[in-house]
C-alpha cells in the first residue's frame, strides 16, 4: 500500500516538471507489472529489500518449501570451487551462496586429499559478497558470525552496484548471482560487467526464478505465485507489496532461451541452462575464454 502511494506521489511530483528533452532520455523499465522510470527502479528495489532483509531467509524457506537450499547447493556444485579461488557473489546479501562455497572449499574431505602445499592456497581464497543494499549485507555479516566465520578473512563484504562493479578486470575465477539478476535495471550491463571482471576460464553462473512451460503445472504455479505468496508475505513479513513485486518481476524476466542469448551476447561461450523443478528455477552458466 505504502509503496503504491509512494510511486504515485513520485510520478505526480516529477512529471509536471519534466521538459520534453529529459523525457526523451528517461526510459521505462519494469518494476513487476508496473512501468517505472529507470532511475526509480533501483530506488524502489532498494526499498523492497530494505523492507524484507530481516525476514528474507525465513520467507525464502516458506515460499519455496525449503527447496531454495537445494537449488543453491546445486549452483555451488556446478561451480566446482577450488582452494585459492577468487569468487564474486553478486546480490548475495545474506550470504547463502558464499557460505556454501566456503564450506565446499574447506570441507574435510577435500582437505584430506590435498597436498600440504595447497594449504597455502587455501589462505588465498577470497569470496567477495557484493550487494547494493547495506541492510542485506548486515544480515549476512551477522549470519557469518553465527556460523563462526566472523574472523574468516576469506569472506569480504562489499557494497556495490552490479552494473558498475568496483573490481578489476580479469580478477575473478567465478561469478555467481543468485536470485538477483531479476532485480537489476539493465541486465545487459550486469552481464558485461560480469564478463569484464572474470578471468580467462572463469565461469558465470546465475540462479534465477524462471518460466514454466509445462501445461498443468504452469497453472498451478501461477495460482501459487499470485494467490499464496503475497498473502504469505502479508502474514509472515507484514509486507504484501514487496512480495507482489517479487512474483510480478519473475514473470517479467526474460525466458530461459532469451536470457541465454543475452549471456552469449555479452561474450560468454558455452552458454547453457538447466531447469530445476520444471522451470521454476533455472541455472544459466557461461564460460569466458
Amino acid at each position: 500500500m505504502a509503496l503504491r502511494l509512494l510511486t504515485r506521489n513520485l510520478r505526480n511530483r516529477i512529471s509536471p516538471n519534466l521538459c520534453s528533452a529529459s523525457l526523451l532520455h528517461s526510459h521505462a523499465t519494469s518494476f513487476g507489472f508496473k512501468e517505472v522510470r529507470e532511475e526509480e527502479k533501483s530506488q524502489m528495489v532498494g526499498k523492497v529489500f530494505s523492507n524484507v532483509a530481516s525476514n528474507y531467509d525465513l520467507m525464502n524457506d516458506f515460499m519455496s518449501a525449503g527447496l531454495h537450499r537445494l537449488w543453491k547447493d546445486r549452483l555451488v556444485s556446478k561451480l566446482s570451487p577450488f582452494p585459492g579461488m577468487k569468487h564474486l557473489d553478486v546480490a548475495g546479501g545474506t550470504g547463502d551462496v558464499a557460505f556454501r562455497i566456503l564450506e565446499s572449499i574447506n570441507s574435510i574431505r577435500r582437505r584430506a586429499l590435498q597436498d600440504p602445499i595447497n594449504d597455502d592456497l587455501q589462505e588465498e581464497t577470497r569470496i567477495y559478497v557484493c550487494d547494493i543494499n547495506q541492510n542485506m549485507l548486515n544480515v549476512g555479516k551477522n549470519r557469518a558470525l553465527e556460523r563462526g566465520l566472523g574472523e574468516d578473512k576469506s569472506l569480504v563484504w562489499v557494497q556495490g552496484d552490479a552494473e558498475a562493479l568496483s573490481f578489476e578486470d580479469n580478477s575473478m575465477d567465478g561469478y555467481t548471482i543468485a536470485f538477483g539478476i531479476r532485480n537489476v535495471t539493465h541486465i545487459e550491463k550486469v552481464l558485461t560487467e560480469a564478463y569484464r571482471v572474470l578471468k580467462r576460464g572463469g565461469r558465470f553462473l546465475s540462479l534465477e526464478l524462471s518460466h514454466v512451460e509445462i501445461p498443468v503445472f504452469k497453472e498451478l504455479y501461477d495460482l501459487y505465485s499470485f494467490s499464496v505468496i503475497p498473502r504469505l508475505g502479508e502474514v509472515v513479513a507484514g509486507d504484501r507489496e514487496s512480495y507482489q513485486y517479487l512474483v510480478e518481476s519473475i514473470r517479467r524476466f526474460p525466458p530461459q532461451e532469451k536470457f541465454a542469448s543475452m549471456i552469449a551476447d555479452a561474450g560468454f561461450q558455452k552458454v547453457e541452462y538447466e531447469n530445476l523443478v520444471g522451470g521454476v528455477v533455472a541455472i544459466h552458466s557461461g564460460l569466458k575464454i
Binding site: S80, F82, K189, G201, R203, K270, E274, S285
Partner: protein, 296 residues
C-alpha cells in the same frame, strides 16, 4: 575493403556458419519434469560491436547484425567466427596439460586444476566439463587412439605379418601407451565403469577394437564382424587388467599373456564352426524332444 573481407568470409565460411546455426538451434529436450532437467543450447558466440549503449536496446541490434550481411560493421564477424570453437580448444589444451599431473594426482579434479594453472587459464574451467574426471580419461583414450592410428599409417613392419601377428603388435602398442599411467590406471578403469560414463567408454573401446581389426586387414561384413570385435575386445580388456598387476620389467609377462591369448582365440574359424555345430546339436536335441512331447 570491408566488402572484400565480407566476401571472403561468406564464401569460405558461409557453409560452416550455416552448419553452426543448425547446430545452435537444436536443443536437447529431456523427459523428466520435476527432477533436474538439462537443456543445453550452444548459443552463437557474439562479441558486442561496441560497449552496449544504454539508450538503445542492445539485444535487438546484436541480433539483427547477425542476420544482415551489410558490409559496414561486419569486420568483427571475422573475429566472431574464430572464438566459436575456442572454448573447445582451450578445454583440450587444459586436458593435455592435466595428463602430465595424472601420475602424481590421479585422474581427478586436482590434476585438472593443475593442468589449467599450467596453461594459464583459471581453474574454474574445470567446472565446465560435464563429467570432470571422465572428460580427462576420455580425452586420454581418444588421444591414444589417434596416436595408434598415426602409428598404423606410418608403420611398415605391419605389412609383412599375418593378421594375428598384426593384432598382437597393435594391442601391444596401444597398451604401451598406458604404461606410464599404470599406477593410476585402476582409477581410470573405475571411472570408465561408472554408470554415467559407461556408454562413452564402451563406444571408445568399440572404436579402438574396430580400428585394430581394420588395420589387421579384416574385410568381412557378416556375423563374423561382431564376433571378431567381441573377441578382440575381450582379449584387449583381459590383457589390460593383467597389466595392472604385472611387475615384470617392461611388462614382459603381459606380452607373453597376450601372445598366448591371441594364438588361441585366433583359430576363429574353428571356434565359430564348433559353435555352429554345438548350436545345431542342441537344436536337434531340443527339436526331437519337443517332437516327442507333441506326438504324445
Amino acid at each position: 575493403m570491408y566488402r572484400t573481407v565480407v566476401n571472403r568470409i561468406l564464401f569460405s565460411g558461409g557453409g560452416r556458419r550455416l552448419l553452426h546455426r543448425h547446430r545452435d538451434l537444436r536443443t536437447v529436450i529431456c523427459s523428466s519434469r520435476f527432477s533436474t532437467t538439462t537443456e543445453t543450447q550452444t548459443v552463437p558466440n557474439r562479441r558486442p560491436l561496441n560497449p552496449p549503449d544504454p539508450s538503445t536496446s542492445s539485444s535487438s541490434s546484436s541480433s539483427t547484425s547477425f542476420q544482415t550481411s551489410s558490409a559496414a560493421g561486419d569486420v568483427p564477424r571475422h573475429e566472431r567466427q574464430n572464438p566459436r570453437a575456442e572454448y573447445e580448444e582451450e578445454q583440450a589444451r587444459v586436458l593435455q596439460a592435466s595428463l602430465r599431473h595424472v601420475i602424481r594426482l590421479g585422474w581427478s579434479e586436482e590434476a585438472m586444476i593443475e593442468g589449467a594453472k599450467e596453461v594459464g587459464i583459471s581453474p574454474s574451467i574445470v567446472g565446465s566439463f560435464p563429467r570432470k574426471e571422465a572428460a580427462l580419461v576420455e580425452f586420454f583414450m581418444d588421444d591414444c587412439l589417434q596416436r595408434l592410428i598415426d602409428r598404423i599409417d606410418s608403420a611398415e613392419e605391419l605389412q609383412n605379418s599375418t593378421p594375428s601377428q598384426r593384432i598382437n603388435k597393435l594391442v601391444r602398442i596401444r597398451l604401451e601407451m598406458q604404461a606410464p599411467y599404470i599406477s593410476k590406471w585402476p582409477q581410470a578403469l573405475s571411472i570408465q565403469a561408472h554408470p554415467l560414463n559407461v556408454s562413452t567408454s564402451f563406444k571408445q573401446r568399440a572404436m579402438l577394437v574396430d580400428e585394430i581389426w581394420h588395420a589387421a586387414g579384416d574385410e568381412t561384413s557378416d556375423l563374423d564382424w561382431y564376433v571378431r570385435r567381441t573377441v578382440l575386445g575381450g582379449i584387449y580388456s583381459t590383457t589390460e587388467i593383467y597389466m595392472l598387476t604385472d611387475s615384470s620389467p617392461e611388462f614382459r609377462d603381459t606380452w607373453l599373456f597376450l601372445d598366448n591369448w591371441v594364438e588361441d582365440a585366433f583359430d576363429l574359424k574353428k571356434t565359430i564352426q564348433e559353435a555352429k555345430y554345438l548350436a545345431e546339436a542342441v537344436g536337434a536335441g531340443m527339436g526331437s524332444f519337443v517332437g516327442k512331447v507333441l506326438q504324445r
